[in-house]
Amino acid sequence: MALPSYAGPLETIWYYLFRVICALVFIFLISPLIVIIPLSFNVEPYFSFTEGMLALDPEAYSLRWYEEFLNSERWMASIKNTFIVAAFSTVLSMVLGTLAALGLSRSELPYKGLIMGLLISPMIVPLIIAAAGMFFFYSWMGVSQSYLGLILAHTALGTPFVVITVTATLTGFDQNLVKAAESLGASPTYAFFKITVPLIMTGVISGGLFALMTSVDEVIVAIFIAGAEQRTVPMQMWSGIREQISPTILAVATLLVAMSILLLTTVEYLRRRSENIRGISSH
């Protein structure tokens, strides 16, 4: 959007003002994530910049909170729990979500709108309502305060993302490719694994990453149905922010920002690869 040559002085001012406004919004978006990084290296137990930090005095910075984090049994246990729950629920979401998306993309499926509405309902219903319901129902089923309960709940919350991304991948999918493979003698199973799977794989993986992120970040349902044994990282952060707020949380937050950069890069890479494979340019 270059400034057109016929622009008058007012338009020129607006052109630059507009860019300043946009820059301010970008700063609003990104500054909270940037700010916590130096704060997590604070030598003092504060949430704010000390004079020494502003003077860039090396004495004012330390790895103290990272050490505390690494030496804390509670944090380490919560990482293990988060990992277990996220791994199982992501894989389950990917399998169930992909199967459902394959079914949803078939034109013969009756009540498509109704089924789609049901399957993405975990994304629409406020989590506090779901959590309250699971609190009773899961203890009635005997799975509350267990890994199984938390995995089931997080799988339910993660599947809509897989369903949506895989369905989106399948909309550009040419069914004739499968028919061609079968006419050349491939069995339906062989055609599925040789033709369909590679083409929808990017959708499956990026849906899976959404599901992973949902599980890793989920706290409301976890507070309601998990026990002390299953304490996850978000639960630990939640109680940390409410009870004794220490910069250890900032250290964890910094690590989580690093993780989201990694996830974001992967998802973007997959999205572009998928567009390239299917020959859809992003414009």
């Binding site: 978006l29 979500g97 499926l109 989590l127 009773f136 599947t159 949380i249 950069i261």
Partner: protein, 419 residues
């Protein structure tokens, strides 16, 4: 299967019938196959997600406590007219219920239930139950002597009213109303109203947050849509990174930004805009909730808006300009109308997400920044009035699903696009 063809190339009527039947059968088989693919997830969601919510919502009308734990009193009151104190037989039934209820440790449940309806019912029931076993007939005067409340006809009216299997009283409470002893439902005085006010505040703050995301998101999306793809993709990272970052991380960083000794206050003091003594209170109140939630939900506005704006050809604006429109007219008459689908999709998405929020208001909202979700959590975990929590949950759910219905009409759910 062989099909004989008649001489003129037509199928015989029987053949035609058989062929149609075959087609139907194959179509049905395809339908079943498609359904088999969807079935595992449908069953899974029904069991792990829909059933829990349905059973929880049922609690908003479920009312078993009095009928179950005071069965004799319930039966005795069935024929009672409610115009005079019940007879000796009813008092005898009460003493029997209280004695057994105390022995089985169940009377507290009925007492707690009745206490929601009338204050001091709990102490009335548990206090009498403690002495009930030692009473001998006739009971009526002795019971009233233990606790005067039994001589109050309203006590009995409440017990009779709440001895039904279903109740509307949780909804009455959730709508800030009260059932009078004579059965009339009246609105509580303004000062005692909690939930409707909180609902309006939740709606109003969610609307404010939605409006802020439109105001902040529109220029950014416009810029992204009009820049060359490579630059736009670079800048898009600044939107996607917060989107992919944990909600708790973003809430934590806003605490570090906004608190009294936080980054923004430090900056303002350093510049000299604000004195060190009167630092701004921007967190643990409604302001904190609005700022933090606007930040958290902004990507949900930018992403749909950007995807719509990308499809608006830039030549339309140039054409309008070349035909003599001022930049403002060209934008207002040509560009804005075409971006409306993006605004409505983003706004409804943000509004639906905002209205059900719980974590962020709980952490940065203080007193004035609480949402209805926080009240549901309080009744679930604090006051343990699950019926009321369920009634508030139903009201929230109806609101959210209603708005989602409108959203679906406007955009269609398969167009939800994020990232």
């Amino acid at each position: 299967m062989t099909t004989t063809v008649m001489a003129d190339g037509q199928l015989t009527p029987e053949e035609q019938k058989r062929l149609t039947a075959d087609m139907h059968r194959s179509l049905r088989r395809k339908k079943i196959r498609a359904f088999m693919l969807v079935a595992p997830l449908v069953v899974f969601i029904l069991i792990t997600f829909v059933a829990p919510i349905a059973t929880m919502l049922f609690r908003s009308v479920d009312n078993p406590q009095v009928a179950t734990y005071m069965p004799n009193t319930t039966a005795a009151l069935a024929q009672w007219e409610g115009d005079a104190l019940p007879d000796e037989a009813t008092f005898a039934a009460l003493v029997k219920d209280l004695t057994e209820g105390r022995k089985n440790k169940t009377i507290g449940k009925a007492a707690t239930r009745l206490n929601y309806e009338k204050s001091r019912m709990r102490s009335l029931i548990t206090g009498t139950a403690r002495k009930a076993a030692r009473l001998t007939p006739p009971y009526k005067d002795k019971v009233i002597k233990i606790k005067k409340g039994w001589g109050d006809i309203d006590t009995w009216r409440v017990i009779k009213r709440e001895s039904t299997t279903f109740t509307k009283s949780y909804y009455v409470a959730a709508f800030d109303m009260k059932t009078q002893p004579d059965g009339e439902i009246t609105v509580l005085p303004d000062k005692q109203q909690i939930y409707i006010k909180l609902f309006w505040r939740t709606v109003w703050m969610s609307l404010l947050i939605t409006a802020l995301t439109v105001i902040l998101g529109y220029p950014v999306s416009y810029l992204l849509a009009s820049l060359p793809l490579r630059t736009a993709n670079m800048l898009l990272i600044l939107v996607l990174l917060p989107f992919w970052t944990s909600l708790l991380v973003r809430t934590t960083s806003w605490i570090a930004m906004l608190q009294g000794q936080g980054v923004i206050n430090d900056l303002l003091v350093w510049i000299g805009l604000v004195g060190d003594q009167d630092r701004l209170t921007m967190i643990y109140n409604a302001t904190g909730t609005v700022i933090t939630m606007t930040h958290i939900l902004l990507p949900f506005m930018v992403l749909p808006l950007y995807s719509v704006m990308k499809t608006i050809p830039p030549s339309y604006m140039r054409a309008a300009r070349s035909l003599g429109a001022t930049p403002f007219t060209a934008f207002y008459r040509v560009y804005l109308p075409q971006s409306v689908p993006g605004i409505s999709a983003g706004a409804i998405l943000v509004f639906i997400l905002a209205i059900g929020y719980y974590i962020t208001p709980a952490l940065v909202g203080g007193q004035s920044g609480q949402f209805i979700g926080n009240m549901i959590a309080y009744h679930m975990q604090g006051s343990l009035n699950w019926g009321l929590a369920a009634a508030l949950g139903v009201m929230l759910l109806v609101l959210v699903l209603g708005i989602y219905g409108i959203y679906n009409r406007l955009v269609g759910d398969n167009k939800v696009k994020m990232g």
